[in-house]
């Protein structure tokens, strides 16, 4: 059986399952309690699990992550919400110097099962700081795991798995897809799939559309865009293989290189600026591994080297179907 669910609601359900299965799981952040979060991802959770477990924190991001670390040291499993991508930076030190490094510092004596949820990306017509894609900052940081969901069913599973992980996980959610709807299996929604350990591996990429001519790798909000591009390309007689990366650290190069060895071409798509974005690492790593199989250089489609522009310009800034197809054309022209 399956139920039609939005991405936001799927995450909400996943968090509810996590709170139900382990009394040590906590939710904390700005406006996550009474309001249920500005995107309603934590809607109803404070009502059902109480103010001690679903905590409206003071407005201080470093404080949120820093106290979450302390709670984890005492045996809790906090799930922190950073309200918007652009507001994660005040917590940067706690994230990269403490959360990422404390387990290593302690030679494994300390475990920090902290999840940091970050609604990210653009396309919602917002004011400054509400449309950023800071994932590369965290993927470059050893000690953090970085995953990105793209679809309701996957989101519900992935958030449950992230909470179960004993390592810190930065969990990116594509905010412009929060209202995307899909059928989600009831075994995902009721937690039984994850509980039974039958859910797909969290730290693996997934081929979401098979194809033969060009591999298109994307994650988060760009997975739909890549799939749309693949559909449009199919109409033109071109076969694109679309990979949803799902995890940026670790990065599942095996799935990726297996695909590129078949297609000989790779286009990477993300909203973040391409300069030192995930596409750079994918290009470098895949080229090193598939040097003789690549028929074209890895091409990157992403944001430009500018701050995120004013809302009325974002459609020009963000990769879309046309820009993906343009890169596909260029890859095929090599």
């Amino acid at each position: 059986m399956a139920t039609s669910t939005t991405l936001a609601k799927a995450l909400n359900t996943g968090l509810r399952r996590a709170l139900e299965s382990d009394p040590k799981v906590l939710i904390m952040g700005e406006d996550v309690g009474r309001l249920g979060g500005v995107f309603r991802v934590t809607d109803g959770l404070q009502k059902d699990f109480g103010e001690e477990r679903v905590i409206d924190t003071p407005l201080a991001e470093s404080g949120i992550i820093g106290t979450a670390i302390g709670l984890a040291l005492r045996g809790y499993r906090p799930v922190c919400e950073i309200q918007f991508d652009g507001f994660i930076y005040p917590a940067y030190d706690q994230l990269v110097s403490q959360l990422a490094k404390m387990p290593y510092r302690s030679a494994g004596l300390v475990k920090l099962p902290v999840v940091v949820r970050v609604p990210f990306g653009g396309g919602i017509g917002a004011v400054e700081h509400h449309s950023e894609s800071p994932e590369a900052y965290f993927a470059h940081t050893a000690g953090l795991r970085v995953v990105v969901c793209s679809h309701p069913a996957d989101a519900c599973t992935m958030i449950q798995q992230a909470v179960l992980d004993d390592d810190p996980v930065v969990f990116f959610e594509p905010k412009r897809r929060y209202w995307d709807r899909a059928e989600v299996d009831d075994a995902v929604l009721d937690g039984s799939l994850v509980a039974a350990g039958r859910a797909p591996e969290l730290y693996a990429a997934r081929v979401v559309r098979a194809g033969t001519d060009v591999t298109v790798a994307a994650y988060g909000p760009m997975v739909s865009t890549a799939l749309d591009a693949a559909a449009a390309a199919a109409a033109e007689g071109r076969s694109l293989e679309v990979i949803d990366l799902r995890t940026l650290s670790p990065l599942d190069l095996d799935t990726l290189t297996a695909s590129v060895r078949r297609t000989g071409r790779l286009v990477v798509v993300h909203e973040a600026p391409t300069f030192l974005g995930m596409g750079a690492e994918l290009a470098a790593a895949v080229t090193e591994r598939c040097f003789y199989q690549l028929e074209a250089p890895v091409l990157r489609v992403g944001g430009y080297h500018t701050p995120y522009p004013a809302a009325r310009l974002e459609e020009y800034y963000l990769p879309d179907l046309d820009r993906v197809l343009d890169a596909v054309d260029r890859a095929l022209a090599f």
Binding site: L35, V38, Y304
Partner: protein, 406 residues
Amino acid sequence: MPTRRTPGADDTVPAPATADPAGLTNGELVTAAHELGSEPMVQLLSPEGERLTHPDHDWLLEPDELRATYRDLVLVRRLDAEATALQRQGELGLWASLLGQEAAQVGSARAMLPQDHAFPTYREHGVAWCRGVDPLHLLRLFRGTSGGSWDPAVHHLHLYTIVIGAQTLHATGYAMGIQRDGAVGTGDATRDAAVLAYFGDGASSEGDVSEAFVFASVMNAPIVFLCQNNQFAISESNDRQMRVPVYRRSSGFGFPGVRVDGNDVVAVHAVTTSMLDRARRGEGPALIEAFTYRMGAHTTSDDPSRYRTQAEVEQWRQRDPIDRLRRYLDAAGLAGGTFHADLEAEADALADGWRRAVRGMPDPEPATMFDHVHHGPHAQVGADRARFEQYEASFEPAGRAGEGGH
């Protein structure tokens, strides 16, 4: 679920009582027990519009100024209403309403001298108005066509800052610059300057604000921090940010704090004037808490019915900052003749102009998104721009199809 406590004020300002925070009553270490909102506030104009006196703060506004102040209050409220409507009509992407906070903003901004410099959050439309910034600049920002298009150096008003608290450090640095320019404590009224830094009750929790207090104090910088305590940080009421009123925060950093009725424009003006004067004289920083109430939603994206009652809002409507001054003006006979009708007509005309102007606001040229990343040239920006222009040109004249078409 227990109802969230809503910190309020003393009997002149209605609010539910708060529990006594545990442990603050064993008085040998702290001066006294406190309840949020029950602290005295400077007041010069009662909610009923009666003139009051205060031992430390005099009523500074002459009739002409009072009328001008009233005009500002009315016009910024009109701006706010118009912008909210424009957002509903899809002309703006977002609007952060100042409804209820007009007195806190206009009263404080009018206390500034031309050479003083203000650092706003994203809600200080009343301050921008008083600093002579054309509201179209604000509307452009919330429409999504600019990041803030007025010249801060001309208006002595910095751009809006959206990252909570960050501007308090910029303000402190600016005040350190005033010191280094020798523009403090000279006694020359046209030269000595101070900074007015706005922030919210929620912002008081951010590390940046405390660091600004440290720097301001250590440097003895000419700055006044003005916290508009509108009792909410989106959905979170004051008790998620503090256990004692925020005006007390400064004393442990080494400078004075004072609480003023933020819905009393005369008191806000008096207190801000006195703290700015003090700062300009070289006597260092001060903190003002203007205790007020956010009568509207946090922004047009917010639904306050999820976290507060309509009854609470109604209670505060009785304390409306504009009604209060109007009662005084009317009773004192300062707003006779066509004063109100003229003002109404002026507001209508302005609103009409704003509406038309917003509807006609063009989107920026796409390639301008590459402008001003740096002042000088930058290879990657240049390369991205060239690629973009080439790509866009590839669609001419045919145009393009697909979801991304524009």
